[in-house]
Amino acid sequence: MSDASPQGAQSEFEPLRAAHQTRIALVGNPNTGKTTLFNRLTGLRAKTANYPGITVDLRRGAMSLDHRRVEVIDLPGTYSLDSISPEEKVAELILTGHHPVEPVPDIVVLVIDATNLERNLFLVSELLDLRLQMVVVLNLIDAAEALDIKIQVAQLSEQLGCPVVPVSSRHGTGIDVLKDRLNELVTGRLPILMTDHSSCTAGCSGCTFSARYDWAAKVSEATVTVPANLDDRTATIDRLVTNPVIGSVTFVAIMLGVFYLIFSLASVPMDLIDGVFATVGGFVDQLIPASNVSVLLWYPLAGMVSILIFFGSYQAAGIQWTKTSVAVSVVVSVLVACMPIDDFRSLVVDGVVAGVGGIVIFLPQICILFFFISVLEDSGYMARAAFVMERLMQRVGLPGKAFVPMLSAHACAIPGIMAARAIENWRDRLVTILVLPLLTCSARLPVYAMITALLFSDSPVMAAVVFVSAYTLGIVAALLSAWCLKKTILKGESVPLVIELPPYRVPGIRNTLTTVMERAALFVRQAGTVILLISVVLWALATYPKMPDEAPLSFEAAERIAALRAAGDGETLAVEIDRVMAQESLAWSFAGRAGKLMEPVFAPLGFDWKINIGVISSFAAREVVVSTLAIVYGIGEDMAEDEASLVEILRRQTRADGGLVFSTATGLSLLVFFVLAMQCLPTQAVTRRETGSWKWAAFQLIYMTVLAWVAAFATYQIGCASGLG
């Protein structure tokens, strides 16, 4: 692949046809500032695009050259045209003209690092062989000057046979010159010169890599003067940071610090978002009139609201307005318009507003997480982190780079899965993605808290033990599963480490913020709409079919109402009866029936049908199980916030045989189940996106559910056998 045939097909002197838009691609080694340059050129109006198959995002944007619009593509960073990662593969296919969708770019802007010219010249050598129209950008020229590296640009340009422009994309110097050069290329092509480069690399027998590096050494020797003790500063820091002992301690300290900051910084905006959405829900609730004011006005209005919501979600998810998507939105909107007004209210408040809230609540953690990941990456520390963790992670057959995704997953599996892109080898990346949701994310914490309070309310020590055990169980399960997957269906040794340890740099804040915005947008687009959809579907499952008025109450409910009536007490009576009715109608709904239907499946774990409803409803988000249990046990959703009273009531629940519903065995079994079960459809949507197929998402769901069931079964049975039932 390194000696790809010259692209002689296009005539070299013919000016580009005005008919098609000129396409410029940015190419270069990782970390040479391609994205920074891209942002400079296109002014942050980028769109990410991807192609079918494994997801690789390409940033695309437009810039104007002398009033002519040209398209700019930011190709993934690569060291050579022999690709290793799926990202590099895309760059390789596009540049060599083998990509199924994307044609060869008209002009290649090859971004090279002026502080490390010789290494970057390797890729230059490969690209020269492709014989494309090319401009070489000598980026980071400010950094090179600061280091006293002197480069003879004219001479370099002559040796390479193409224009070379010194640029600092961070400070914006040289951008105008670059645009001029590009403009010259767009309006009239330059001849692609033959240099002595081709004879040098093609003629050599044996190792073409070596030949290219020989050429690179020759060119850099002739054009660059590098001072001695160039990377003193980096060497000094690295002596500590890559040291087996001090490095590991530093690593643990940095990761703990980051993690602490994620949780402490995110809690404020999360509480705020929680509050805002509760207020919005209340406001909307009041906005909707109590009864149909005017039929003529109401139907179109309700329909409009529904269409608007569809419009917003389609826009956010990037769904095209095709026949099917329009039909779906129209049919659903008509149905919505015909709904009784109380149902409509409940749909908007409990389905849509709660659903959107469920999306937004994730954003603070995701943004903060990606902020730190981006800072660590741009500063150069991330490569050291992979280096330090390499030996440990290799024990379970994963590369050192899998560590950061695993750490991120302790906040939320979704950013963890998105961060797994840093792992080059596809098999290693897939294994990492598959095991990430086993790690305890923050959505599980309310569930753990409820169960611990339920089982060991009077013992903070026991509570701590339970939390630590739950975290440990998740980590052990993830590592063991990774190990098993590598031994079975994704067989193969993990790819040993070869990683560039780049010089330390102060990260650019603009770059970092752009990355954060992009990742947040990606999350809203990919997971957001799924969360909204699930939230609405689960609302429907818990609401329909409605309990007919003449339906008999369950024995239990009738008994409770009778008791309440006997007790008298006017005001609370109505509230209490409402709660019993809410409980009854949930039992009557699809969700309630599903809970009863699932009884044979979950009875061996010690769950009754009410807990089953909680398990089902928690597919939107795990923490929902707490409020669902509050409703099914007739406590009222509003009381779920008040943990003490919820726990108090749950603790009093008894089974038909008089035993406690939440015995120690059942509680532990439920805990184990929630540690290990998938129970998060938004994560599944992201898994599908990152792996490019539902197949892996389905596999993840199945293996985790089976694992969770078996482990919870064992826990319950052992618990019962040892007298905790």
Partner: protein, 89 residues
């Protein structure tokens, strides 16, 4: 000079790469970073993984891969044509 493996180098110093004895992805990963025939490799920190300096940049390299790189000692610093590969810290 007797040939040995890069993984056998136990103290910092410069060696010359003679051959890379692995194939497929591993070989490409090594070679495209500059660990290929006749190039100078400066071992900065031995161990697993080790830190080396090749073509002007520092690389982290797992011992398993280093074991497939055949190297020879460079007796005289002056024999190296590459000034930046031999400078010692």
């Amino acid at each position: 000079m007797p040939a040995s493996r890069l993984s056998d180098v136990l103290s910092p110093g410069t060696v010359r790469c003679v051959d890379v004895e692995c194939e497929g992805e591993a070989m490409i990963r090594l070679k495209r970073m500059g660990i290929c025939g006749e190039r100078m490799i400066e071992v900065i920190q031995p161990g697993d993984p080790m830190v080396v300096r090749v073509v002007g940049s520092r690389l982290g390299l797992s011992r398993r891969l280093a074991a497939s790189v055949v190297v020879e000692q460079v007796c005289d610093v002056m024999t190296s044509a590459k000034p930046d590969a031999v400078e010692n810290e």
